[in-house]
């Protein structure tokens, strides 16, 4: 870094000075008196002269603070973890206060740009020191100092003060950027602290409640997707070593808080989440799909003669804040798709469809799952608007004999077991609370069952529903309603199928569900 000679010593001197001033009783309220004097010292030492020197000062200070913590961890004379923590926090909290005051007082009071630029700089420096430390120390890496710096800095910058409230969205943005850079896939040694930060009660409140017009929801969704992406390979194999199990269970807790407090958030971003959650991670996906708007009262799925298509919300399209249409690539495939939907041409579209979805011959990895998800939702939403332009509503009668249903039936017949499983999952992921997507895809799944030309397809549809029903709660309303319809409605001749009796416990399970329905 070719630091100018003497800078390291100056920084160490200043940091030591500041820590003493911060803890001195005369520091004044929020250390403002101490800060006024200290800034003078920084000026005398020339630290604030150039942007480069300020950057070096923060990097050296961060390194010194973390170095002090590593020494405290290895200091055998300090066996008690709370004493080690107190020692680390003695310096870290002072350092955080210095950063906070520099951010608050940089530029004039209403010049938020200088404040935010300085915050981005400092967060970037701390993140850089963390990543280098993470790579250098590998399994010796310790998250504590970085976790403390980030959370205390966030809490200090969340104080109810005018100057901070005027930059609160930018502060959130800066922290989300930093957390995205430090996502678990990039710094697995920091993953536990990362989830603590992302799910801290003040952070949740700021991101999901206090920021107007839900402007931080998209940033928060991105952070959850970062976590799902990290967990995905491990969850995909249902092979959870203890350390992964710990992180998975922590993530479930956070999702439960979101389901309870912010179901609309999960409703809006369910698509993006289900795109990255592995298809076999049933319960976590069910948790997300079970969310429904708080104002909505869901009829009991077991209500006899429940008339789903008479529910007021059943014709309303849910908000889906992911641009799934843009995920249908390449462009000429999307062009052919649109053309087929509109005019059933090119005729070759259906016969080539499977090859567009297949990416390898590796069992278990043959298909482009996000593409299948996007295709299903895109074709389905096109079908719904097509039906609605005819002044009708989706039903078993109105969804048939259409280019959209051609595509779905082709997929049901033409795909192999793996591909059809992913296709049926994409449909079943839309079975949520009463809305037009739930209704359309519920009818589609039942229609595919009724029109299937082989029993294998009907069995697979049953399996896809069943594997989501036998896991622990919660279960999405649309999933229950669809399954009950399948086993209740004689049109589907469900009970005639061999696979219903393929094993005693399966038969018992169907009977128990049937009894709850009747």
């Amino acid at each position: 870094y070719d630091d100018p000679p003497g800078l390291h010593e100056k920084t160490e001197y200043l940091l030591r000075e500041w820590v003493n001033m911060y803890h001195n009783a005369s520091a004044g309220r929020d250390s403002t008196k101490a800060f006024t004097m200290f800034v003078h010292q920084m000026n005398v030492q020339g630290i604030l002269k150039t942007d480069d020197l300020i950057t070096r000062f923060f990097r050296l200070s961060t390194e010194m603070c973390t170095e002090l913590c590593y020494r405290a961890f290895s200091d055998q004379s300090n066996p008690s973890p709370s004493l080690v923590r107190a020692k680390c926090f003695h310096t870290l909290d002072a350092y955080v206060r210095l950063i906070t005051l520099l951010v608050k007082h940089s530029g004039d009071a209403n010049n938020s740009l200088t404040k935010i630029n300085l915050l981005h700089k400092v967060l970037g420096i701390v993140a850089g020191v963390l990543l280098r430390d993470h790579d250098f120390r590998s399994t010796e890496f310790q998250q504590l100092p970085y976790h403390r710096i980030f959370i205390m800095l966030f809490l200090e910058l969340s104080a109810p003060e005018q100057v901070l409230e005027s930059i609160s969205v930018q502060v959130l943005n800066a922290f989300c950027n930093t957390l995205h850079i430090l996502q678990p896939s990039k710094a697995p040694g920091f993953a536990y602290a990362w989830l603590e930060l992302v799910s801290h009660r003040v952070f949740l409140g700021k991101m999901l409640v206090l920021t107007p017009q839900q402007r931080a929801w998209g940033m928060y969704a991105q952070l959850l997707i970062d976590m799902f992406k990290f967990l995905a390979p491990f969850l995909r194999n249902v092979e959870l070593p203890k350390q992964i199990q710990l992180l998975y269970k922590g993530t479930l807790r956070v999702l439960l808080v979101l389901l309870h407090d912010f179901p609309e958030f999960l409703c809006d971003y369910h698509y993006g989440f289900c795109d990255v959650i592995p298809p076999n991670c049933i319960q976590m996906r069910n948790l997300i799909l079970s969310a429904f708007p708080r104002h909505m009262r869901l009829p009991d799925p077991f209500t006899p003669n429940l008339k789903v298509d008479l529910l007021p919300e059943i014709t309303q399209a849910p908000r889906v804040l992911t641009n799934f249409a843009s995920m249908i690539q390449p462009a000429n495939f999307k062009k052919d798709l649109d053309s087929y939907i509109n005019s059933r041409s090119p005729v070759t579209f259906l016969s080539e469809l499977r090859s567009n979805l297949q990416v390898s011959n590796e069992p278990g990895m043959r298909y482009n799952i996000p593409l299948i998800n996007a295709l299903v939702l895109y074709v389905g939403t096109q079908a719904i608007s097509h039906i609605q332009t005819k002044g009708q509503a989706p039903s078993m009668g109105t969804i048939t004999h259409s280019s959209h249903m051609d595509i779905f039936q082709n997929l049901a017949v033409d795909l192999d077991t793996e591909g059809r499983y992913l296709f049926l999952n994409a449909i079943t992921n839309q079975l949520r609370y009463p809305n037009s997507h739930t209704h359309y895809f519920s009818c589609t799944l039942l229609y595919l069952f009724a029109e299937a030309n082989t029993e294998a397809i009907q069995e697979q549809i049953t399996r896809v529903l069943l594997e989501r029903l036998i896991v622990n709660r919660p279960h999405p309303w649309g999933l229950l309603v669809t399954f009950i319809e399948l086993i209740k409605n004689p049109t589907f001749k469900f009970w005639n199928h061999e696979f219903v009796r393929c094993a005693p416990e399966i038969e018992k399970l169907f009977d128990s569900v049937a009894r709850s329905c009747m």
Binding site: R29, A159, E196, L204, K249, V257, N472
Partner: protein, 47 residues
């Protein structure tokens, strides 16, 4: 089959929001009032 999510220490039937007392991803209990930092009037910071 997943796990019983009602045993994770969250009161899922609470009429109140959970997040303001959320103890974190590994906490078996919600935060107690003495665990939650609060911006109290500065005169209260006597120590």
């Amino acid at each position: 089959l997943g796990s019983d999510l009602t045993t994770l220490g969250l009161n899922l039937n609470s009429p109140e929001k959970l997040y303001s007392n959320f103890g974190g991803p590994w906490a078996e209990q919600p935060c107690r009032p003495q665990d939650i930092d609060y911006h109290v009037p500065s005169e209260y910071l006597i120590n």
